[in-house]
């Protein structure tokens, strides 16, 4: 088993030596960026945008002030891998933040941690305090010319805050709702200044790339998915938890069976949600694909944040759809009409269907129309992806749902 990211906890600063960061301080920033680009590290927060490209763009922005933000809001149900990193490898996360800041030329950064994450917040507060004492934060870090200040922000407690533009609004003390893009945060982010937002895991992985060397890293994985990924495995498996896997080394079914040790209570596997409730489900017959960005995409879904939720035959499909739709209904920021009203109507239709025990042709037609509209016209990623789960369940279990329930 690989352990780039999943390691024994290190909480004392004395046990951590910041080798990657020290190396970075003695290397031209362009070279670091080019390594991250060669490693083709894709953003682990869900959108999968290449981190190296983002760093390069951020570095090129001309501005006296720039910011880096570590996105540790982790609000999607079933995702807990960032929490794992914050609790076990906080120094590595800090190191990733330092490196990204140094490379793009930022002197101020924020780590935005989900409000409910009490323990990680405590840990990271201490980390910042100790780092300041040890000269890892502040002026002339480790004797270099590099000054950097880091502030911890406790999340405002809404899923939308994880969206980078909403997160920036939240840091600025505004109502957390998405901003219209463009401009992207890279051009105009916090307080209108160029801002680099990266997920916790992305930053930790960047540290590994520098420590292990690009070659070692790129030797792992598949054609389009290099290295390793943390998976938050949950749902009806015997052993849920955080697992690190090399891309392509296991199929989704193998993840369920080998890592998750099969379905609880000897149940039957029905489908897997590969990347959190904002992604489409993969039914039984599509589970024998390698775990990689490209294979999951080809199967019609998305790696998302790596939240893999396993669902057994025991569940009522209408209930499941309703639960997911209700989650999104309560989490829309309420700014745009298709998302706010579209999800609300889907919830109503599903509530009625639940009472009735099955869906009608008309329900199918209406929900499909609403999903399409919300996907095409919503203002931000939350709305656009909110009905993926529902639509994909409808698509794969049409007959079952029309006939009278998923028992």
């Amino acid at each position: 088993m690989l352990n780039f990211l999943k390691k024994d906890p290190i909480l004392a600063i004395e046990d951590y030596d910041f080798t990657a960061f020290k190396q970075v301080l003695n290397t031209p920033a362009e070279n670091i960026i080019s390594d991250i680009k060669t490693a083709d590290l894709k953003g682990r927060g869900g959108a999968g945008f290449p981190a190296g490209v983002k760093w390069e763009l951020a570095r090129k922005e001309k501005s006296a002030e720039k910011y880096v933000v570590c996105n540790a809001d982790e609000g999607e149900p079933g995702t807990f891998k960032d929490r794992y990193l914050l609790e076990n490898s906080p120094w590595q996360v800090l190191e990733g933040i330092l490196i990204s800041a140094y490379v793009i030329g930022a002197e101020k950064g924020y780590i935005y941690i989900r409000g409910e994450y009490v323990k990680p917040i405590k840990i990271f507060n201490k980390i910042i305090e100790k780092a300041e004492k040890k000269g890892l934060l502040g002026e002339n870090i480790l004797g270099s010319e590099f000054d950097f200040e880091l502030e911890l922000i406790r999340g405002a407690g809404a899923y939308i805050c994880g969206d980078e533009t909403s997160l920036l609004n939240s840091i600025e003390g505004q109502r957390p709702r998405s901003r219209i893009k463009p401009p992207y945060p890279i051009q105009s982010g916090l307080y209108g200044k160029p801002t680099l937002v990266n997920n916790v895991e992305t930053l930790a992985a960047a540290v590994e790339i520098i420590n292990q060397g690009v070659e070692t890293y790129t030797a792992l994985g598949t054609a389009e998915s290099n290295g390793t990924k943390l998976i938050s495995l949950s749902g009806e498996v015997n052993e849920p938890g955080v697992y690190e896997i090399e891309f392509g080394s296991l199929t989704i079914r193998e993840i369920v069976e080998q890592l998750g040790k099969g379905i609880r209570n000897n149940g039957q596997l029905k489908f897997v949600v590969p990347g959190g409730v904002s992604t489409s489900i993969l039914p039984q017959e599509k589970l024998d694909i390698p775990y990689s960005y490209e294979d999951i995409k080809a199967a019609g879904s998305n790696t998302g944040s790596g939240a893999m939720i396993v669902v057994s035959e025991e569940n009522d499909l209408i209930d499941l759809m309703l639960n997911v739709a209700e989650f999104f209904m309560s989490e829309t920021c309420g700014t745009c009409f298709p998302c706010r009203e579209g999800i609300r109507q889907v919830c109503y239709l599903l509530e009625n269907a639940k009472e009735r025990g099955y869906l009608t042709q008309r329900d199918f037609e209406l929900i499909t129309d609403l999903s399409q509209t919300t996907y095409l016209a919503a203002r931000c990623g939350l709305g656009q992806s909110s009905l993926n789960f529902v639509t994909s369940v409808l698509e794969h279990y049409r007959d079952e749902l029309l006939q009278g329930g998923g028992q």
């Binding site: 809404a158 939308i160 109502r175 219209i180 463009p182 209904m329 309560s330 989490e331 829309t332 920021c333 309420g334 700014t335 745009c336 009409f337 298709p338 706010r340 009203e341 579209g342 999800i343 609300r344 109507q345 109503y348 209406l366 129309d369 609403l370 399409q372 509209t373 996907y375 095409l376 016209a377 919503a378 203002r379 656009q384």
Partner: protein, 570 residues
């Protein structure tokens, strides 16, 4: 110049233009709802989405900059379907029911949802309406908010914040519970709202409208024992016709007078008369301050939205306000004393109604300092409703004249309706009173026009009088900040609504830059057509002083025509 293709039409554009703006240039109308020209971009309603070749998702035309070589489809089948679906969602969330239906809605003539329905060919509503069950906010004496009709487009928030610099609205909650409310949900009557009514113009629906007085005015007109007099503000006559399908800027003074007589008012008088009277009082006050050396600047006091604004936000300048009541209130005070006495009418039996372009006048008439001199205030829109209800074909009526004693007015009184008008009227009179010479050039061009802040210097008897004019409360705020930072003026005219009263919160909808400019032209046309263009030439005003008040700023004048102000919390 770069080019792109919109629906197969080549379009040239400047960098920074949105798809919405570019489409207009090739005669393509993209429906919009949360967008408004004078406000920042919101991108919430998504009714304006368009298809861009190569893009997976649709993009909002109001928020997306057009770029070189873009190929855009504004009305493709996909776009049309999405728009119809969004529309159906809005309708379902809009709580249309028998109780709330369009027929009785304040916006039954001017609803943007209805315009969109027509523009997108909507022909079904498949979703069950949602009963939101909010209570109406009736805490304000000027404005009612009906949250069940609110679609949370945020236009009122942006109008109040960006154009009026007040900012009493906020969006609360998340998800379907998202609701537009006032800060702390206190209600519009309990916050810093200035009652200007600009938010009503921003609103695409009937979620905001004035507090109606017209049913009570009908009751008064029915009551044989009441002597009901009406006054009409300068800005009403250049806007009322818009409610009867006429072009903005159509002047219907005489027709309006005839219509009011048909409605059954016992006397039809002119607020312009009171505006001339205001100039006599305010001009005299200004001359007094010039002689006494201040306090400067002296601020005009005829816009009640501005008064409430300064009381909340700049109370340290209250002594700079002219002590003059507004023309509406001067009229009421004179009607219930001078006119009532001269005609042997018991003050208790007299009912004074005003027709105003303004929602804040409703608040003003109820101020404790005002002694109930004005009983009811109708907006221009409410008068339109009454005229329609009475079946009167207003624009085709034969013109009639105002009733004597309080019906005469000069050009100076007429221009009170426009930003810069009070200043110009005051200067015409002050100049002649101070210099005792005739003013040759009556038009003070620098204080005219639609700009938010205007400045001018006038030489009067060797003295340079520095003046400034601001309209729209965020401009007012800017000018005040300038003054705070040491800029010195003698006389400053402030009006709450952009463009002055012609852009008031009670005017016909739409009130926008275009309609305001047309109404402004009409106002100056009225002035230019008058033989007498200076307030002190008004014979009936002269008579009033002779028979009753004595001289401007006399003891009685002070008692009836002047007022005081209070500091309010923020």
């Amino acid at each position: 110049m770069a080019t792109a293709l919109i629906d197969g039409q080549q379009v040239d554009f400047e960098s920074g233009e949105t798809i919405l703006e570019a489409a207009e240039k090739v005669q393509i109308k993209i429906p919009t709802l949360c967008h408004a020209e004078d406000l920042s971009i919101y991108g919430g309603c998504r009714i304006c989405v368009v298809e861009i070749e190569g893009e997976r998702l649709l993009k909002p035309a109001c928020a997306t900059k057009i770029s070189e070589g873009m190929k855009i489809k504004t009305h493709s089948p996909k776009v049309r379907e999405v728009r119809r679906n969004i529309f159906e969602l809005i309708v379902a969330s809009h709580d249309i029911s028998c109780r709330l239906n369009c027929l009785t809605c304040s916006r039954n003539q001017s609803c943007e949802l209805r315009e969109i329905a027509a523009d997108i060919g909507a022909n079904q509503t498949r979703f069950d309406p949602i009963d939101k069950g909010y209570d109406d906010d009736r805490s304000s004496v000027s404005i009612v908010r009906e949250p069940n009709k609110c679609i949370t487009c945020g236009r009122c928030i942006r109008k109040c914040e960006e154009v009026q610099g007040v900012g009493i609205f906020t969006m609360a909650n998340r998800g379907p519970a998202t609701v537009l409310t006032t800060f702390g949900d206190k209600g519009m009557g309990n916050v810093e709202c200035t009652n200007c009514g600009q938010c009503i113009h921003a609103c695409p629906t009937g979620a905001l409208h004035e507090v109606y007085h017209y049913d009570r005015v009908w009751d008064m007109l029915k009551d044989e024992d009441k002597f009901v007099v009406v006054q009409t503000a300068p800005a009403v006559r250049v806007a009322l016709a818009e409610l009867f399908e006429s072009k903005p800027g159509t002047i219907v003074t005489g027709q309006m007078v005839a219509g009011l007589k048909r409605l059954g008012f016992d006397r039809v008088f002119d607020t312009n008369f009171a505006a001339d009277l205001t100039i006599m009082e305010e001009g005299t006050e200004l001359i007094g301050r010039i002689e006494d050396g201040g306090p400067f600047p002296m601020f005009t006091s005829c816009s009640p939205g501005w008064i409430k604004y300064i009381e909340h936000f700049y109370p340290e300048y209250l002594e700079n306000l002219s002590s003059c009541k507004s023309p509406q209130q001067m009229f009421g005070a004179v009607a219930k004393s001078y006119y009532a006495q001269q005609h042997g009418i018991d003050k208790e039996d007299m009912v004074v109604v005003s027709v105003m372009p303004c929602t804040a006048k409703k608040f003003e008439s109820g101020r404790g300092e005002m002694d109930q001199d004005v009983d009811f205030v109708l907006t221009t829109r409410e008068l339109g409703r009454m005229v329609k209800e009475a079946g009167i074909d207003l624009v085709n009526l034969a013109e009639e004249d105002y009733d004597p004693m309080m019906g005469e007015s000069t050009g100076a009184g007429s221009i009170f309706g426009s930003s810069g008008g009070v200043m110009e009227a005051a200067l015409r009179t002050a100049y002649e009173l101070i210099t005792e010479e005739e003013l040759e050039e009556l038009d003070f061009e620098p204080v005219r026009g639609a700009e938010g802040i205007k400045e001018a210097e006038v030489e009067i008897k060797g003295m340079t009088v520095k003046t400034a004019v601001a309209s729209g409360l965020s401009n007012v705020g800017q000018l005040l900040e300038k003054i705070k930072n040491g800029e010195e003026y003698h006389f400053v005219e402030m009006m709450a609504c952009p463009g002055g009263c012609i852009g008031g919160g009670g005017q016909p909808i739409p009130t926008n830059q275009e309609t305001v400019e047309e109404r402004m032209k009409a106002i100056y046309e009225i002035d230019a057509g008058k033989k007498k263009r200076k307030s002190h030439q008004n014979k009936e005003v002269q008579q009033l002083y002779e028979d009753y008040l004595g001289a401007p700023n006399s003891h009685l004048a002070h008692e009836l025509l002047h007022t005081n102000y209070i500091k309010r919390e923020i």
